[in-house]
């Protein structure tokens, strides 16, 4: 019997061994894949178990956190949600994150290893850092001026500081309150469905995620290419440009909105926005020079991040001459984001140098210790500095005596360019009104703000839609806000 008892004991030992081996399998070998199973709610519980770090505008948090006491405990709140929605994006328990909430999620949620006091410290202690802060480059008065200027009309405004690339305002309208997407309750799902279903697409960030035909504002790029390529050496010399202009290889005739474009000088054509002159100028400059200049301004760059990804603005690289002519006046399939056109304007204001646009000034720990700063970085040289000086003069004249008079600010130097972009089949859509500009205060050594405004107001009378009429006043308000203390610190 003793022998049998020993056998039975050995059997029990075998059962124990099986349990130990299996526990090791689950807890060590498979633990990683089980932890990351999407149905495992633990990561979400930990993620929402502490307040999320704040996004800061002008020294004040525009976000907050609310303790719900539920399983996913802290919900995001927003102060002035619709105003800052294109900057912050949303942080939802159910629908994830977008824009800065997404791009800086590691900092805000506290998972970024850089927030830890020591490397690997958190892996050892299983501690979680409090969420860090994201300090934006946005200036509240500039943002508010832009938002108020659009007044709910569909469109977008971007203001950047030319010398640094700091984004001072990033507005998209119509907007929405991202707080409606915080939490797990039924109204959150309803809000999601409603916001996605609305034809005005309030969650679309038109400033960086939507491209428009830039229309005449693209003439800045064409002018820069023509001057840099030596096609035009003296902006005041008459060009050989017929009006109307027959597109090469076709019988299509291109006309102008204004008179006096026949053989107009580059300066005159720029100030009065002559389509015929610029269409021919683009063809004379040639495809490869046009493509190069457009690329140097930032077109065709699919990797731009601010740090949220920016939709690529495009200038087609294979065009026949007729298409090139249309592309050179910002039509055909040339498309640009409002941010891209702000970069174009900023490049002119900044001596031809395009600074990397950015929205985050620095990230810090919850206590304010700096984790990372975004420095000024030159993306590319878009044009020769001399060309930039000439373009600056021409843009100033647009405001002083041309189509952009509505943007003039007493006591400041303002340069601008209007645009009215046709779109739709046979140009049947309501045209987009564009205005790109920069402004230099009386005491400032350099232009301190560059702005791009696009208005796509479908309800407006077609005749009223023009860059000078709809968009320039908005740009003016934004530049005024930037110049009067709301500008760079």
């Amino acid at each position: 019997m003793t022998r049998c008892i020993r056998h039975a004991a050995a059997f029990c030992a075998l059962l124990l061994l099986a349990l130990l081996v299996n526990a090791t399998r689950v807890q060590v070998v498979q633990s990683d894949s089980l932890d990351h199973n999407p149905a495992n709610r633990r990561q979400a519980i930990v993620r929402f178990g502490q307040p999320r770090g704040d996004i800061v505008v002008d020294g004040r948090a525009v976000t907050g956190s609310k303790d719900t006491g539920e399983q996913l405990r802290y919900e995001r709140t927003y102060k002035n949600g619709p105003l800052y929605a294109p900057v912050t994006g949303f942080a939802s328990q159910v629908y994830g994150t977008s824009f800065l909430e997404e791009a800086e999620d590691d900092i805000l949620s506290g998972t970024d290893p850089m927030l830890a006091p020591l490397p690997l410290w958190n892996d050892v202690t299983r501690a979680q850092n409090p969420g860090g802060k994201v300090v934006t480059t946005i200036r509240a008065p500039v943002q508010q001026a832009a938002y108020a200027g659009l007044g709910g009309k569909r469109g977008a405004v971007v203001a950047v500081e030319p010398a640094t690339g700091k984004i001072l305002a990033l507005v998209s309208a119509p907007s929405y309150d991202p707080e409606r997407l915080s939490g797990t309750s039924r109204p959150v799902a309803d809000a999601w469905t409603e916001l996605n279903g609305r034809p005005s697409r309030p969650m679309l960030n038109r400033a960086i995620r939507q491209t428009y035909p830039p229309g005449s504002t693209f003439k800045v790029v064409t002018a820069a290419a023509a001057l840099d390529a030596g096609v035009v050496t003296d902006p005041d010399e008459p060009t050989k440009s017929p009006s109307p202009y027959t597109l090469p290889g076709t019988s299509t005739q291109l006309t102008n909105e204004v008179d006096g474009c026949t053989n107009a000088s580059l300066r005159t054509a720029f100030v009065w926005s002559c389509n015929t002159v610029f269409a021919k100028l683009g063809v004379d400059t040639g495809l490869s020079a046009m493509v190069d200049t457009a690329r140097n301004f930032g077109f065709n760059d699919r990797g731009l991040r601010i740090p949220s990804p920016v939709a690529a603005s495009t200038f087609d690289t294979s065009l026949d001459k007729a298409q090139l002519a249309l592309s050179s006046i910002g039509q055909y399939d040339t498309r640009a984001t409002p941010l891209q056109m702000a970069m174009v304007s900023a490049a002119v204001a900044n001596g031809g140098s395009v600074k990397s646009p950015h929205l985050v000034e620095r990230t810090t720990t919850a206590d304010g210790d700096v984790v990372d700063t975004t420095g000024t970085r030159t993306l590319r040289q878009a044009m020769n500095p001399g060309t930039a000086v000439r373009l600056r003069e021409m843009m100033t004249e647009v405001v002083e005596k041309g189509t952009g008079a509505n943007a003039a600010i007493p006591g400041a130097t303002v340069g601008g360019k209007t645009g009215t972009a046709q779109h739709g089949v046979d140009n049947a859509g309501t045209p987009y009104a564009w205005f790109v500009s920069w402004a230099q205060g009386a005491d400032d050594p350099e232009p301190s703000v560059a702005v791009a405004v696009v208005v796509e107001d479908a309800s407006a009378d077609r005749g009223d839609i023009s860059g000078g009429g709809s968009a320039a006043p908005i740009a003016k308000a934004v530049m005024e806000a930037a110049l009067s203390g709301g500008g760079p610190r």
């Binding site: 019997m1 059962l15 349990l19 299996n22 526990a23 689950v26 932890d35």
Partner: protein
């Protein structure tokens, strides 16, 4: 070990009594109580940053229970194995900590107070059993009374409504007890008694089955009643859908039959029958079939968009614990749902104490089982040996069936983790099992050295 030099020493050697080790037991009990109190405080500190208000009361309560049990052992079973009682106290204390910890997640459904009452009843019965039962051989007389009572206890719940798919509870006046839990002790007593009385007949008489000498079948007259009882009990359990207990009874029956007769053939036959039975039940009975499917594909419900089932949640909990665990009070095993405090309590231990804590708990059970087997080896009377082996095997099989179930090693069957899980009947039963083990180990260790053990 007491049974040294088994069968070799001549009877003339003077009787030298083994050390009693009651001081060791008391010291270990202090450690067990302190560990439990520490765990209790740790939960409060981790959750609220303060020591829970009931900490002193909890410590005092557990301490008094432990002291009571210790005094009973000291007076009436002075030679008993000094490890049994501290292990039981530690596991029971740890169980209370885990249930208290889970109660924090379900403020409207607190189970710890009731569990404390049941633990008190369990210790009271333990004390009573140690005080009143002077010699385990007395139980042998009540073998048939035991089996009749066991069958009645098992049949009664059929007349009560099913709870969560199993008819194993009887309810009255707000209380619910699981009579099947008590039946397992009674059946162990019966099996041990019957096999001890008939082991010669079982082992050495009967016809051989063809040329296979190892498959010598005993006469039906001897084997018949045994098989009948076993079949009856398993049949009832299948009716009640109590899978875990059917598996337990089957394992108990096979182990005791093997130990009593020493015939490997029985195990072969048993395993064959079991495999056949398991396959038949597993593919035909829908309740069991779904359990088997869950075991084979624990994440099927996730893929089907229905969210993780209990087993998947349990695996998530174990994985979240990793090597060292999240710390008491800091895990999320409550995601498992309604059975988190009972069948799945081990998942909380795995998540919050980690693989390290889980191994410690398994080793505590293993020590308990090993001490039972050791008593069985040291005893002289066949009934005592079989009883010790039977009781120890009940613990071992329970732990394996439920721990293997919640960790995905075997299909999940409802069963309580001894001492750890919420469940009054289970706690009380396990305290009685420990009382009986104390009794047999006392007998085993008080035997003079040199008395032969076969």
């Amino acid at each position: 070990m007491t049974g040294t030099g088994a069968g070799t020493a001549p009877p003339a050697v003077p009787a030298v009594r083994v050390p009693r080790r009651r001081g060791t037991e008391l010291a270990l009990l202090v450690v067990a109580v302190l560990l439990s109190v520490y765990g209790y405080c740790d939960v409060g500190l981790a959750r609220n940053g303060t020591v829970p208000p009931g900490a002193a009361g909890y410590g005092a309560g557990l301490g008094v229970l432990a002291l009571l049990a210790h005094l009973a052992v000291r007076f009436r079973a002075p030679y008993a194995d000094p490890l049994l009682l501290p292990i039981a106290v530690l596991l029971n204390g740890l169980g209370l900590v885990l249930i208290y910890r889970l109660d924090l997640e379900t403020p409207n459904d607190e189970a710890a107070p009731a569990q404390l009452v049941w633990s008190t009843i369990g210790v009271a019965l333990f004390t009573a059993a140690v005080l009143l039962l002077r010699d385990h051989r007395v139980l042998q007389r009540y073998a048939y009374l035991s089996v009749v009572t066991a069958l009645i206890l098992m049949i009664v719940p059929i007349f009560f409504p099913a709870v969560n798919g199993a008819r194993i509870w009887i309810r009255f006046g707000g209380f619910s007890i699981q009579p099947g839990e008590f039946a397992k002790i009674l059946l162990a007593v019966f099996f041990a008694s019957y096999l001890a009385a008939n082991r010669t007949a079982l082992a050495h008489t009967g016809r051989t089955l063809g040329r296979f000498r190892r498959l010598q079948l005993p006469t039906g007259r001897v084997l018949g009643p045994l098989v009948a009882i076993w079949l009856l009990s398993v049949g009832v359990l299948v009716l009640e859908r109590d899978l875990g207990t059917s598996l337990l009874f089957f394992g108990l029956f096979v182990i005791l039959l093997y130990v009593a007769t020493g015939r490997t053939g029985w195990i072969a036959v048993g395993l064959l029958l079991a495999a056949f039975g398991a396959f038949a039940v597993g593919s035909l009975e829908p309740h069991v079939h779904s359990r088997v499917q869950d075991w084979l594909h624990p994440f099927a419900s996730i893929d089907a968009g229905e969210g993780p089932n209990q087993l998947a949640q349990s695996l998530f909990a174990f994985a979240a614990g990793g090597m060292l665990g999240t710390g008491l009070g800091l895990g999320h095993s409550i995601l498992i749902g309604f059975a988190a405090k009972s069948d799945f309590i081990l998942a909380t231990a795995g998540e919050e104490l980690g693989l390290a804590g889980l191994c410690a708990i398994f080793l505590l059970y293993a020590l308990l089982v090993e001490r039972g087997y050791r008593a069985g080896l040291a005893l002289r009377d066949p009934f005592g040996r079989l009883l010790a082996v039977g009781l120890a095997s009940i613990i071992a099989l329970q732990v394996f069936v439920i721990a293997g179930g919640v960790t995905g090693l075997i299909p999940l069957t409802g069963m309580a983790m001894p001492f750890l899980a919420q469940g009054g009947s289970s706690v009380v039963t396990n305290w009685i099992i420990v009382a009986l083990l104390i009794r047999v180990s006392d007998s085993a260790r008080s035997q003079p050295v040199g008395e032969a053990v076969r």
